[in-house]
Amino acid sequence: MSELEYVGRRVPRKDGPEKVTGGAIFSVDVRLQGMLVGKILRSPHPHARILNIDTSRALQVPGVKAIVTAADTPGIPHGFVETPRYPADQPTLAVDRVRYVGEEVAAVAATDHYAAEEALDLIRVDYEPLPSVFDPLKAMEVDAPEIHPNHPKVKEPYRNIAGKTETAWGDVERGFAESDYVRQDRFESHLRTHGYLEPQATVASFEANGKLNVWTSSQGPFIKRAKLARTLGLPLSSVRVQKAYVGGAFGGKIDLFSHEFCAGLLSMKTSRPVKIVATRQEVFCAYRHGQPLIVEVKTGVKKDGTLVAQEYRVINNPGAYRGSGVVVIFLAWGFAMLPYRIPNLKYEGYAVYTNNPVRAPQRGHGAPQMRFAAESQLDMIAEELGLDPVEVRLKNARQSGELLPNGDNVHNCGLSDCIKEAAKSTGFSEKCGQRRKAASSERYRRGIGMGVSSYFGGSLIYPNSSSVIVKMNDDGSVTLLTGALDIGQGAETVLSQIVAEELKLPLEEIQVIAADTETTPVDIGAWISGGAYVSGNAARVAAEEVRRKLLEIAEEELEASKEDLVVDDKSIYVTGSPDHHRTYRQLVEASIRKHRGDSIIGEGHWRTMRDEPMHPSLATTKGRWSENYAFDAQVAEVEVDTHTGMIRLLRAVTAHDCGFPINPLLVEGQIDGQVSMALGHAFMEQVLMKEGRTLNPNWLDYHMPNIHTLAPSEHIDVITESYEVGRPYRTKEVGEGYVSAILAAIANAIYDAVGVRLFSTPFTPEKVLKGLGALARSDENDTDV
């Protein structure tokens, strides 16, 4: 096996030069001739009937070119999930009812933003306010205001049930009866936003030939094309979504948004390009945030800490439409059962409609909330039983080759090594539990905590698979065509590294054409953690075909058999005689000359779980889910000021099994970003809402980590897979699995420092001081989340 030259190396980003010089074009930067400015009129009410909409005065404003309301749309609803069980439930523009503050009611296109805003002010909408409900538990009560009828399959006496996931294996009652120790706890998490720096932005241009060209800040063009075409009533092939760089997404830009639909519709109405850019305030108030969960967990263990039985009840508040709410309650089951063997488990999760804005996937998509609950409780159990928290985790950790209850194989699993390495590098066992006892009178107290998590990669959801084309150019360089969209994760770089390795071609000689529904093949998208594995293997197969074709021509040209040929440095030569060689350029030329014009093109396709026709059932969890699971253990060390309750994260260590890091520089960047996001989750970030209205819609009042709150992040690679040229490889995800265990580790470290167990995020000074008895317990704040 030859040494890897490109894969596994710390290669700088392919798109880096464009990004450091200001040349990279994002959706907000797209400018077209005659472009109009679009603006959205939003509901001021959390729940109201629309009695009438009058646009006549607004249409008189000079510069206003078109106004659209529900009456102008084809009336086709959309949803993050669109399945027979969970059909689309969200209108593109509100029809006869609004269900949250900020819901889109009308849209205006005008020659400038002054005219557009004036028109918004002059659209008259008569509303009849309706009773509203914001808390999911209240929304479930039988006398709660009905936002949507219950899902037909839900038989429980609740209201507003958008969906339910229910699953079990083993015999959980018997499991609890056979346990030596059982405890039950309740954990809550809070509302956070994605914090992408580029606001939501779309440019749509309807051309005379009937084509709608779209540039939109997204996580993959193919799902946008499908949903835009369907809701606009256009053939799929009439919508072209093209590449623009994306200023961060983190789960918040996946499926269709009303402004994208409106930009398209307004452009079709006016035959002019229309650009809609959300203000930061709109992003905070009306766009989709993450999903806080209420997690009730009951766990039974043997005296030695062996998990015997676990029962979960999870309540999710996805807002006024289903969004990804029913996906979260499915995934929450997965994040509960992935890292440890649990012989008996019962799980139920509810997604409950409320009159809050719709909610989206957010990096980790339920994992931070679930691991916070499970890992906090596991530490409590360990302490009750006098067990070492590291030993308890090792005792229950999944091992290579284990089968999950749904039939998935975890394949090579480095979890035990992650736990051991994270503990060893931090001196965990020497520190944990010591300082609390020794230094209880000191003002500043330090603690250490651990968490464990696991994340799936590249599951089956539209468009399910990735294809890649690699074209050899006349000069021996290649063009790589991929539908993958680089949203900062480095997709273009990773795919280029793989092609470079397979063809032994310098990275500079690979040109990438990406993320265009018209000219590039389909791609799974940058939101199901499958880029490096699914699109990567597709790129590998495509490059392999090119390599095979080159070798075939080299056989003829060099009069040697394939076994005697070596591929290196843009050439193929005969083993032992490097002078007897042909460059790629010569081989391409020979192919065209001697093979009646055949140029050299390779195509590759990849999909996970090729024998599975469908994605797993969101309602029952039945069916295969993934064939690659990443594992990690994270350790946090914190310092708590017992006078103020303030907490500092001193150290964050991530020991991760991401399979094989194709680009360690990018892997580290992903981990650092996630640890920072978890720090924001733990201490700083909270979207405050009162009756469906956002109280802190800006970055002065919503605190994201800045350079003063840099999380000291360390990485330990636990490598369980390898890469070999010409062979399929299995690697795992690194994009969102590391926001979770560290959150739990921080909570456990706070307990280790001061003995205060926190059952809800964020970990505020008030909660710490209350736990220390220094602040009276009272009924908390007056906000809803």
Partner: protein, 165 residues
């Protein structure tokens, strides 16, 4: 509204723009000069994505009126690399992995450039002070700090002597 002629010097070039008085420097750069490297993340001075240099000092172009920039030298991200040669700061951002989505990058690079031009050996505190107005959601800032350290090294090395940040 009445427009006034505003003379701006951007990246060494002089422009006369007919602008309404409320037009910000950010709008003038992006919408009138097509210099879209300067980004708008919030429009209210909280994120630093719109940072440009005004007479070598970093300013928020979203909170600055274009008319107030008369007579000043404005430098945007497009004005750093000369003849295709990246500056030490740009190179360091690439090599150290300090760029992910790239939306904060122009503002971040300009803030670092201003810092190192004035203070080629900044302390950790100087560095934090200089970058406290620039939000980044992707990197957690770790690799940005590494990039600054590398740029400092390059500038102070014998080969980099006298080299602009």
């Amino acid at each position: 509204m009445n427009k006034n002629i505003v003379a701006l010097t951007v990246n060494g070039e002089e422009y006369d723009l007919a602008l309404e008085p409320q037009v910000t420097l950010l709008e003038a750069l992006r919408d009138h000069l097509g210099l879209t490297g300067t980004k708008e993340g919030c429009g209210t001075g909280e994120c630093g994505s719109c940072t440009v240099l005004m007479d070598d000092k970093p300013i928020l172009s979203c909170l600055t009126l274009a008319a107030d920039c008369r007579g000043s030298q404005i430098v945007t991200i497009e004005g750093l690399a000369q003849g295709g040669k990246l500056t030490a700061v740009q190179e360091a951002f690439l090599e150290k992995g300090a760029v992910q989505c790239g939306f904060c990058t122009p503002g971040m690079v300009l803030s670092v450039t201003a810092l190192l031009d004035e203070n080629p050996q900044p302390s950790e505190e100087d560095l934090k002070k200089a970058l406290e107005g620039n939000l980044c959601r992707c990197t957690g800032y770790n690799k940005i700090v590494e990039a600054v350290h590398q740029a400092v090294e390059t500038i102070s090395s014998p080969e980099g002597e006298g080299r602009q940040a």
